[in-house]
């Protein structure tokens, strides 16, 4: 039986796992956006926080994912359910590209334009919302794109702690030394990553200031 026949026969299960996968990636990316973009803005306003925030996000990124899942296991409430655990871990991994791109996007806005805005009497809030964020939007979306694609891949590992998703097939296939099963998890995951990449890439182009 080849991988296509397997996926066709088990299409409801494939679909379920894909939806689970999307849920893990979607929720964690959304949380990372809600935390990462404000943090990125914050460190443009308080340069002293720049090193600790970016450094912290960097360190999280260096922790091997399986180890991070393990570390978080004893955490109260979070550790009680595998999907919470997976979402937290994926959120933490997605933070770095979001914080970094928000920061570099805002810092990359033409200094002459920022100076003109200040010189004309814009308040800091007006400067941020009317000038800096619109002009940095393309770079920020690029960060969301990187974070999402990484997340789709990393979420397969969440199956190791029982959080579900397409990693289920991969781990099952590994245990049973069954390549078809591994592919049945890997191929939809790769397709998801590509779709996320292409659609966010399109959005990035649309929103970038021309």
């Amino acid at each position: 039986m080849n991988v296509w026949q397997f996926m066709l026969q088990n299409h409801t299960e494939v679909l379920e796992l894909t939806v689970e996968h999307l849920w893990l990636v979607g929720v964690s990316t959304l949380l990372a956006v809600l935390i990462g973009i404000p943090l990125g803005i914050l460190i443009t306003r308080w340069p002293a926080l720049n090193k600790p925030v970016l450094g912290g996000a960097n360190i999280i990124q260096t922790i091997p994912s399986l180890a991070l899942f393990g570390f978080l296991l004893p955490a109260p409430w979070i550790g009680a359910r595998a999907d919470r655990l997976a979402i937290l871990a994926l959120t933490l991994y997605a933070l770095l590209p979001l914080i970094r791109n928000t920061y570099t996007g805002i810092k990359g806005v033409d200094r002459a334009v920022v100076e003109a805005a200040r010189g004309m009497g814009m308040t800091d809030g007006q400067l941020l919302w009317q000038v800096e964020l619109p002009l940095a939007l393309g770079v920020i979306i690029a960060g969301v794109r990187v974070a999402t694609v990484i997340s789709v891949g990393l979420a397969t590992i969440a199956a190791a702690i029982g959080a579900g998703g397409l990693g289920e097939y991969i781990f099952r296939g590994l245990a049973m030394v069954n390549n078809q099963l591994i592919l049945a998890g890997a191929i939809p995951a790769a397709v998801l990553a590509l779709l996320a990449d292409v659609s966010l890439g399109w959005l990035e182009k649309r929103l970038a200031p021309r």
Binding site: V113, E115, A116, R118, G119, M120, G121, Q130, L135, P209
Partner: protein, 260 residues
């Protein structure tokens, strides 16, 4: 115009020093008064402290020592947002917002001052006309305009809320000679009508002689002299003479004034 406050200079520098945190001094003990309705040109080469002086007026920079006063009040005591909104600011290349249309660029200060939309729109049309641009440009983006058009938009934007003071930092520096001459003429005509207090930064002696009521020559962070254009070209002060020599300007340059 005849209020008693008119006798007071619009802008005063009192013993102003500006230095970086590392101790490097950009401006030494600057004393200067800028009168209401005059065009004071800050002339000097790169790094002489012209732009620094300009940014001290709208509080983009804060003096390390001394006091800059606008309307008799120290810039430290002004509400900085209020201060900046009564000072128009034009920089090289205009510093236009690339993601805003021409209309939004020009109407920016009125918009953040919460004018009603209809009044902003009307004001934008007035200003486009004032700087000699087609009303249809309002919906364009800055990238779709020529350098000269962008610079006109920059001037229109600075004039939007009718500020009494205008700061211009090498506004025509990046333009080709023909467009530059055109904008200089228009500036003179405009200034004769509007009588703003203008502080104009340039390194171009011809521009200074043409546009300035008075010229303040700066060198290495110090004010050398403040002269009228006529005094300037006839001055025997060595730094002034050197500057005039470097440009090889015939004293006729000032003759152009008044004809426009």
């Amino acid at each position: 115009m005849d209020t008693p406050s008119d006798n007071r200079p619009a802008i005063e520098f009192h013993n102003v020093c500006y230095r970086f945190d590392n101790g490097q001094t950009l401006l030494h003990e600057l004393d200067l008064e800028i009168r209401r309705g005059e065009t004071l040109v800050l002339l000097g080469r790169s790094g002489s402290g012209k732009t620094t002086s300009l940014k001290l007026i709208n509080h983009l920079l804060v003096p390390s020592e001394g006091d800059v006063r606008v309307d008799g009040r120290s810039t430290r005591d002004w509400d900085v947002i209020r201060l900046r909104r009564m000072i128009g600011y034009v920089i090289q290349e205009g510093g236009l917002f690339p993601h805003f249309t021409v209309a939004r660029n020009i109407g920016l200060v009125p918009q953040i001052e919460d004018w009603p939309a209809a009044r902003i729109q009307q004001r934008v049309q007035e200003l486009l006309q004032l700087v000699g641009l087609d009303a249809q440009l309002a919906s364009r983006y800055p990238r779709e305009l020529s350098g000269g058009q962008r610079q006109r938009i920059g001037v229109a934007r600075a004039l939007a809320a009718d500020p009494p003071i205008l700061l211009m930092d090498e506004p025509f520096g990046a333009l080709d000679p023909i467009t530059r001459a055109e904008l200089q003429r228009e500036f003179l005509a405009l200034q004769q009508r509007l009588r703003k207090t203008v502080v104009f930064v340039t390194h171009d002696l011809r521009e200074a002689l043409l546009l300035g009521t008075r010229i303040a020559l700066m060198e290495a962070g110090r004010l050398v002299v403040v002269h009228t254009p006529d005094e300037f070209v006839n001055s025997s002060q060595p730094l002034v003479a050197a500057y005039v020599d470097a440009f090889g300007t015939d004293s006729n340059a000032t003759g152009k004034r008044g004809h426009s």
